[in-house]
Symmetry: C2
Subunit: 300 residues, 2 copies
């Protein structure tokens, strides 16, 4: 990754984190009150040092259509809240049963299973209220975003992907189609929505939103394939968790299904698709193009 | 309970269930696809024979201000979806660890813990999208409802109540104030919102909404106190679960804190408060008045 992109990613994450910091803070003191514990548990995972990829995508696609930061930031926050809830629930013993994420103990390891379930529930619930109250946006844009976020995250989107994931665990007879359906829903839907939301907020036209959707779908799938490749080839320090943990858990991944080499070929095709969709915007889309490439080669 | 009220409750629940049936159906066949399993798990709990108290309250307060059924039904459904998710998560081993609800096995006993977590997540997520898409309502009413539902259910409402509940488990030093704060959030907030939502949908004025709020807060607390009394005095058949299970689990309840007699006195006071708030509406509010009395004496 070149230094220029590194600086850009850091700056954008910084802008988002400063906005987030107005609403969530890590507390230094030991919490005494149950409501403080809940708040702290939510903040713990929100502030656990994520890359802020979804917010950066929303901000990037908003900027492509000259949209204001103050219009897209509340949407980016709602998206990151929903993403964070999904990680907390995904790490639970009844789901992926992970002890570490981003190099620190998972939410339930710190706050207990019950509180982790509640922290996830609260982040998800609060996200919709936050979005509906975003007064820098028109009422109809807010409603469109609430519906879009619900679709991307709900029973036909992200949660559906997790259900397929759960169902596939340990099965040998899973096809390429099912695996990609799983990926498209589990991670792709929210990434696509992040890209689209930035355009919606900026008032992009229908044909522009269609291009953003193509771009979002390609990088969304690329993100998961890259994740699978990384799980196989990355070091523990890069991953913030045990290397090869997918394989050890017999998890269905692009690598287990296509092999490492074919997964890399697929990754390149997906990045090409994403870059192609942005062609009409020329140099103005340079950042989104770089983001597509970054997603395919990132180290963590 | 007199026969007239019984008929009314059955009719209202029937109206709601027919509406619900357009969206959720119990499937006869064994599900093959993971998405079918998720859908079935959601439908299993939604169709598990609840009293539909929250929908009936929303419908009742909507009717008090001459609102249309077709405007309130989508709101009632979103509320019942959120209520149902909260029951699924509350029954999980890491929370209340209940094996039965309404006389049938809890969601995770049938579908497994992972799928139960996902079914709850999906119901919660879908509820907001459904509400935002309710085209019989104006855009600003829909946004107000999304915000109100999020507040009632989220980190300062229902989930906060569950966090307090989790925190209090096994503690001896809990005050009456903390217990009622718990009740007001855990069950009261959603019941109050149900009553308010019916008024909002019908275009009730601010002073009317304030009266509905007083009514809702009183019956919301009464509901939980009645639940505690019932757990202590009801039979297994009435409860659909083991009698005295709160006491056995050392759970903090109105009965464990105030004793049975004082809990009954409190119940009467709360019903009086609720009835008082409806006085300006005279006979038009007869049903809501009866509902307040029903909540305090119900057998299950």
């Amino acid at each position: 990754m070149n230094d220029d992109l590194k600086t850009y990613l850091r700056q954008q994450a910084g802008i988002f984190d400063r906005y987030l910091g107005q609403y969530y803070r890590r507390s230094e003191s030991d919490p005494e009150e149950p409501l403080e514990i809940l708040q702290q548990s939510m903040a713990y995972s929100l502030l656990a040092g994520g890359k802020r990829l979804r917010p950066i995508l929303a901000m990037g696609s908003c900027r492509l259509f000259d949209g204001d930061l103050e219009r897209v930031l509340p949407v980016a926050l709602a998206i990151e809240m929903v993403h964070t809830y999904s990680l907390i629930h995904d790490d639970l013993p009844a789901m992926d049963d992970d002890n570490f994420r981003r190099g620190i103990p998972t939410n339930h390891k710190v706050y207990g299973e019950g509180m982790a379930i509640l922290a996830g529930d609260a982040l998800l619930t609060d996200a919709f209220g936050f979005l509906a109250g975003a007064e820098t946006l028109t009422e109809s844009t807010r409603l469109e975003l609430v519906r879009g976020l619900s679709r991307a995250a709900g029973s036909t989107g992200m949660v559906a992907g997790q259900a397929i994931d759960l169902y596939c665990e340990g099965r040998a007879d899973v096809s390429r189609e099912i695996l990609f359906d799983l990926h498209r829903r589990k991670t792709g839907a929210m990434i696509t929505f992040s890209v689209l939301a930035g355009g919606m907020v900026a008032g992009a036209r229908t044909e522009d939103l269609e291009r953003l959707e193509t771009y979002g779908r390609s990088i969304g799938l690329a993100f998961q394939v890259a994740d699978d490749v990384l799980d196989e080839t990355g070091t523990e320090a890069e991953l913030g968790k045990d290397a090869g943990s997918d394989r050890e858990k017999d998890k269905l991944t692009s690598v287990s299904l296509l092999g490492l080499e074919q997964s890399r070929v697929l990754l390149e095709e997906l990045v090409q698709e994403a870059v192609e969709a942005l062609k009409p915007y020329g140099e103005r889309a340079a950042r989104l193009r770089q983001l597509a490439e970054y997603i395919a080669v990132r180290k963590n």
